[in-house]
Point group: C2
């Protein structure tokens, strides 16, 4: 298929296995108009709507304070900058696949003069042993729970505790990249506030599994968040109004957070079905509602097959795939959200069989 | 009056002299749902909606390229950073009341290692003579047209041309803070693209007179704007979706830009009426639809009188005032937009007389 044919096939699908499906601006905006009720616009971070939501998120995560931030990039750089400045030390530690390392064009260095010390191995999360092997002081340690770029892997909770102890003993700031923190509770069997408790600062995202428009929050103690607000002015992140983002975040937290255990349960069933047709799932079973799925095909073969299934059966299964270091195998990321509920287990089994037969 | 009584009085007003009045999220979002039609969401800066709007703005301002940016703070720092890095020089020149100097917590220094060289006197715009007196090299010169913090003053066009020549001769990057550029065309008798023409980079805002939700654009040549997109990733300004902001900006450009000559004309009439009741307007006559208005009262006396008029006549005239260096005189900023159209000249004259009688 040509790229255009493939795109047309995917567009023709009426259902998808992935996340929450396509967001339609008109529908989202109409829903947010209802959500707004009689509330007033926020103005440069002030107002009942945004401040009330910040308090709600802080309470949910058990932190004294929260600030709504346009992006996670901004939230995390600010947390690390504050920790580094407080310690007079520019080195910060994180995993080789950390968002700051792979998706932010080295903003931490160009804007904040920070230097990264990578810890842990690329294909597994950071563990206490990695920290014990660290041979230089660092101002802060960033842990990502779950680790997105390796399929949403979570380290055992005993490792989180051991890493917390390491940081506390050394006065190292502990920051949580919680872009997908919402999805960790079934694996750990803990409340969100319990997962967040060891961390000095926490970033959470509202537009991923919660299905918001954009935006994030940074949480921590009162002085740190007050300081973060100064940095948001510097960064151009103290926007005149963010009410569409705040309203969508609030609706997502209310409507989708309770569904996450169901997403995770379904993800585990989907993983078994994928393995039955010859795919390899990582981690297996999934720790959250996310997984990496390896198929014994070239990317183009898999995508053509997926496009053909989308065209003929109306269901989009795999939307992208990239080559791996194993010749003949490609990998895709799969996130289970609302959309999968429209596909019964039996139908999915049949669709997956057809996918691999056509690849 | 207590602050609460004053706030209640202003809330009770059904009309206002100022700008476009209060924005109600529910109404804005419902209107944006209509505006969205069948358009798709932008994803990390890509998509027909945002790219089409960027082209529209670039064409209107006669520049090769534009990028939609969450905030002007971000847009302007990026423009200056790129100019400074290209020249290997950290010093940038701007007016003492420049937004970077007074509203951004010195982000230019903390994030970009830039050092400000202030040029010109606080109570008038930068002029060519100020540049001739400059005794050190600078990487960039930022000019704000109109200069907001002194009432929206515009330098004569011959001065803009003379400053352009100065910058060209020295290889100094010329950046336009055009937060209120939309309002300059009646004064200069020039099209927007003509006003923007001398500048290497231009920032414009969509949420001020255009009445958008938030957001700005940075314009320049193709390589500069491509480079700016890298900086937006670093700054956390490459948001997953900005369609509410883009739709509102597009609607504002379509609906409000044509009304600006009318706003400016009305502002000049309002200025005369203010002067008739003893206020002093600056600049007089206004260069744009904005002015500073000095009243021979203490701030509290003026605000109490304004609150009383709001309560008794239902019209909010002056919403804030600050002391000046002249004892007994306070000053407020007035921007004329859609809202003033609901107040006839004769009624306004009567309301202004009542205001000063009660102060």
């Amino acid at each position: 298929m040509t790229p255009d044919e493939r795109a047309a096939a995917f567009r023709s699908a009426t259902r998808t296995l992935r996340a929450h499906g396509v967001r339609v601006p008109r529908a989202v905006l109409a829903a947010m108009a209802e959500e707004a009720g009689d509330e007033s616009a926020d103005v440069y971070g002030r107002g009942a709507l945004i401040e009330g939501f910040e308090r709600e998120v802080a309470a949910l995560l058990g932190k004294p304070a929260a600030v709504f931030v346009p992006s996670g990039t901004m939230a995390q750089q600010v947390a690390l900058r504050i920790a580094a400045d407080a310690r007079g030390l520019r080195t910060v530690a994180f995993h080789p696949t950390c968002h700051l390392e792979v998706h932010e064009q080295r903003g931490y260095a160009h804007l904040h003069g920070l230097v990264a010390r990578l810890v842990g191995a690329p294909r597994r999360p950071v563990l206490r042993a990695d920290l014990d092997a660290l041979d230089e002081p660092v101002a802060a340690l960033l842990l990502e729970l779950p680790q997105r770029e390796i399929g949403g892997v979570l380290p055992p909770w005993t490792e989180v505790e051991a890493m917390t102890a390491w940081a506390r003993e050394r006065g190292v700031a502990l920051h949580l990249d919680g872009a997908r923190l919402w999805e960790t509770t079934p694996f750990y069997g803990k409340a969100l506030a319990e997962v967040a408790a060891p961390f000095d600062t926490v970033y959470v995202s509202f537009y991923k599994i919660l299905g918001g428009i954009a935006g994030a929050a940074l949480l921590g103690d009162e002085p740190t968040i007050a300081h973060a607000r100064v940095w948001l002015r510097r960064l151009g992140g103290n926007l005149v109004s963010q009410y569409p983002q705040v309203l969508a975040a609030r609706a997502g937290l209310r409507d989708r957070l309770p569904r996450i255990p169901g997403y995770v349960e379904r993800a585990r069933r989907v993983a078994l079905q994928l393995e039955e047709v010859g795919a390899r799932v990582s981690p297996s079973p999934p720790h959250t509602n996310m997984m990496h799925v390896a198929f014994p095909f070239e990317p183009d073969a898999l995508l053509d097959a997926s496009a053909a299934v989308a065209r003929d059966r109306g269901v989009a299964l795999v939307g992208f795939a990239r080559p791996t270091e194993v010749p003949g195998w490609c990998v895709t990321e799969l996130v289970i959200g609302d959309a999968a509920a429209e596909i019964e287990d039996a139908e999915l089994a049949s669709l997956l069989r057809e996918l691999v037969e056509r690849a």
